[in-house]
């Protein structure tokens, strides 16, 4: 983002203005989707006002661990990421592709064109995930029509993370904790004993008009530096690290690493990690025939490389062992993805660590493989 003269691109918002921002977006025809608490978990859902946000809530995370706690302040975004990401809105879990009538008529399902959605509270890692999606789904030679339609009308209000979570390692993957591009407005929340406000940064012209429309004033240099101090501090708060140096080649060289055997003994192949991962988007297509039998429908739904039939070919699954399925997933995220799309498939959000029922930690897996590097020649 080009940084134009300070006060023109930074605005001051108090909590009331966040509410106004939400109503203004709704007035423009957007469904506003933001974080809310449901069943002791922070998820993304449609909201109508700022009061629905998880005010004063923090999420304590660990390997296989997630708990909401009170913060003791009134922060709007004092948590990190929950089990769901924005992929469920951009890339719905189930989509009807075709209806095939018995008489041969094929009708293509119309994607919800023009559904305007505003995402409020998109974290840096999640923006990175969306930009990966863009590359994969829109980069060709074939374009995913569903994603492309859903993506078209998205307004993004990002939030910089002033307090990374226990499982966050976006600093290592270079995807956070602050957002760098791909948003309309970004917010940095400032909470102190006597103040609670947001410094908004403009990322697009429509972001700028919206801020002016709700009457936000320019932020003062003190406010801007308060926000900057918090982001600087954020960098020092990371507990998890991933050494990405030469990681791709390391993994290619160690495809037979004994570490995978250890992991395979724990891994349940439950597919939780792929479900919560913001960049996993493998799908299957199912044929659904109604009882009447006069039409068949082709539905696409999310699938996972941990499911045994994912690699099924005649004669049996290619990857029957859990070891091979874990290795497939892990090397895809950290190695083969780089060859496919020029970036890693991991954005450092830590969801797979939090939601793994047995607490497998990808950063530890990578570190162990590095530690136990064994040369295995290909031939």
């Amino acid at each position: 983002m080009e940084e134009s003269a300070g006060q023109n691109s930074h605005y001051f918002l108090d909590s009331l203005l966040i509410d106004k921002l939400i109503s203004a977006l709704r007035g423009l025809g957007y469904s506003v989707i933001g974080p809310v608490v449901r069943e002791d978990t922070i998820v993304y859902d449609e909201i109508e006002s700022a009061s629905q946000l998880p005010v004063g809530v923090k999420d304590k995370q660990g390997p296989g661990y997630y708990r909401l706690e009170k913060r003791g302040d009134e922060a709007f975004f004092g948590f990190v990421v929950g089990p769901f990401s924005w992929k469920k809105f951009l890339y719905p879990p189930r989509v009807k592709l075709l209806t095939v009538a018995k008489n041969g008529e094929v009708s293509i399902h119309n994607v919800d064109e023009g559904k305007k959605m505003a995402f409020l509270g998109v974290r840096a890692c999640e923006l990175a995930a969306i930009s990966i999606f863009d590359r994969v789904m829109l980069g060709g030679p074939y374009v995913d029509p569903v994603y492309s339609a859903m993506r078209r009308n998205i307004f993004i209000i990002a939030v910089n993370c002033t307090e990374p979570g226990e499982n966050c390692f976006c600093l290592s993957t270079g995807t956070g904790p602050e957002v760098s591009s791909g948003y309309d407005i970004s917010l940095t929340e400032v909470v102190s004993d006597d103040a609670h406000y947001f410094v908004a940064k403009v990322g697009s012209s429509r972001g700028k008009s919206l801020l002016e429309h709700i009457g936000a004033r320019g932020a003062t240099s003190e406010e801007i530096s308060e926000a900057a101090v918090r982001m600087e501090r954020s960098h020092t708060l990371f507990r998890k690290k991933l050494d990405t140096d030469g990681l791709k080649d390391l993994l290619y060289k160690n495809l037979e690493s004994p570490v995978y055997e250890e992991i395979a003994e724990k891994c349940l192949a439950c597919a939780n990690c792929t479900l919560v991962c913001p960049t996993c988007f493998c799908t299957t297509v199912e044929e659904v025939t109604g009882l009447s039998g006069d039409a068949a429908e082709r539905w696409r739904r999310w699938d996972s490389c941990f499911n045994i039939d994912f690699s099924y070919i005649h004669g049996g699954p290619i990857r029957s062992s859990i070891l091979s399925r874990y290795r497939q997933w892990f090397t895809h995220k950290f190695a083969t993805w780089v060859d496919q799309f020029g970036v890693m498939g991991c954005v450092g959000c830590g969801r797979c660590i939090t939601w793994c029922p047995v607490g497998i930690d990808v950063t530890e897996v990578a570190a162990k493989i590095r530690q136990r590097e064994v040369e295995v020649s290909a031939t």
Binding site: K102, T283, E287, A296, G315
Partner: protein
């Protein structure tokens, strides 16, 4: 029929099937049929040998099937399908006059252009001969452009041999060296017995000017690759056709990954040098 053009599709037409009519059916073996179809539009029969279509059977599903032949003047395509499960059984048993859905053709085929002026060895195992057959046809039609031409083919039993008519024709040509073997013979079988790799002792390849095209079960391809390497062929000139589970055919469902490559859009034909770190490992 060699130039491949992957258009950029932007609508849901990526997933849209085009109907074709089944116009012929040949029983190859007890469970394998070659079906002949006529797509609605003439243009749809353009393909590159080694490419595949996603074939849809109403109410059952859609699977990848290689194009095993073409009759351009009649506007027909052929597929050789082994009925091993619900979809392939539905396709193999599709009656003449019935409809099948097609998407594609997809993927990258055999490097026939690149191999011009060189000797060619084709090695097929079982139904793996299907995607090789259009390449064989192409080489025969352009025989002057290639050097020596070997075809090695293996099947389990004499009854499992595909394209018996073609085999007779190929055998009759002086400019093709065809060697056929079966794992188990029967009382009438007079040919070679043994797995396809045992045929390599009867041939001597020119390592600096030979291209190899291989398709069959993965284990057969692994051993064939060994033989080709033993004869001095570099990995860059050994080409194999890979099989993986596929749902979309166009690089969007991600099921067909094999190491860093997508079998559907980067393959299914690969040179060994592109995938050697992954090819020889189990469960990749």
């Amino acid at each position: 029929m060699t130039e491949q053009s992957l258009g950029v599709a932007t609508g849901l037409e990526t997933f849209k099937i085009e109907w074709c009519r089944v116009v012929g059916r040949v029983k190859e073996t007890p469970d394998t049929y070659t079906i002949r179809v006529r797509p609605r539009r003439r243009g749809e029969i353009a393909f590159e040998p080694g490419q595949f279509n996603m074939i849809y059977a109403y109410g059952v599903g859609e699977v990848p099937i290689s194009i095993s032949g073409a009759l351009p003047t009649e506007g027909m395509l052929e597929y050789t399908v082994r009925g091993v499960g619900p979809v392939t059984r539905a396709i193999a048993s599709a009656r003449i006059g019935s409809r099948l859905g097609l998407r594609g053709p997809f993927g990258r085929g055999w490097p026939l252009r690149e191999a011009e002026g060189q000797d060619i060895i084709i090695v097929g195992g079982g139904i793996g001969l299907a995607p090789l057959r259009p390449a064989i046809q192409y080489i025969i039609n352009n025989r002057g452009k290639y050097g020596k031409f070997y075809i090695l083919y293996g099947a389990r039993t004499p009854a499992d041999l595909l394209y018996k008519g073609d085999l007779r024709v190929w055998r009759g040509r002086l400019d093709i060296q065809l060697l056929v073997t079966v794992d188990r013979g029967d009382e009438k079988w007079r040919g070679y017995v043994g797995v396809v790799t045992t045929l390599f002792k009867y041939i001597r390849l020119e390592p600096n000017s030979t291209y190899a095209f291989v398709c069959g079960p993965e284990i057969m391809m692994k051993f064939t690759v060994q033989e080709l390497r033993n004869q001095g062929l570099p990995d860059e000139r050994i080409f194999i056709s890979m099989e993986r589970n596929m749902k979309c055919g166009v690089g969007l469902c991600w099921r067909c990954q094999f190491g860093p490559v997508f079998v559907c859009k980067d393959g299914p034909v690969f040179s060994l040098s592109e995938i050697s770190n992954f090819f020889e490992r189990r469960e990749m």
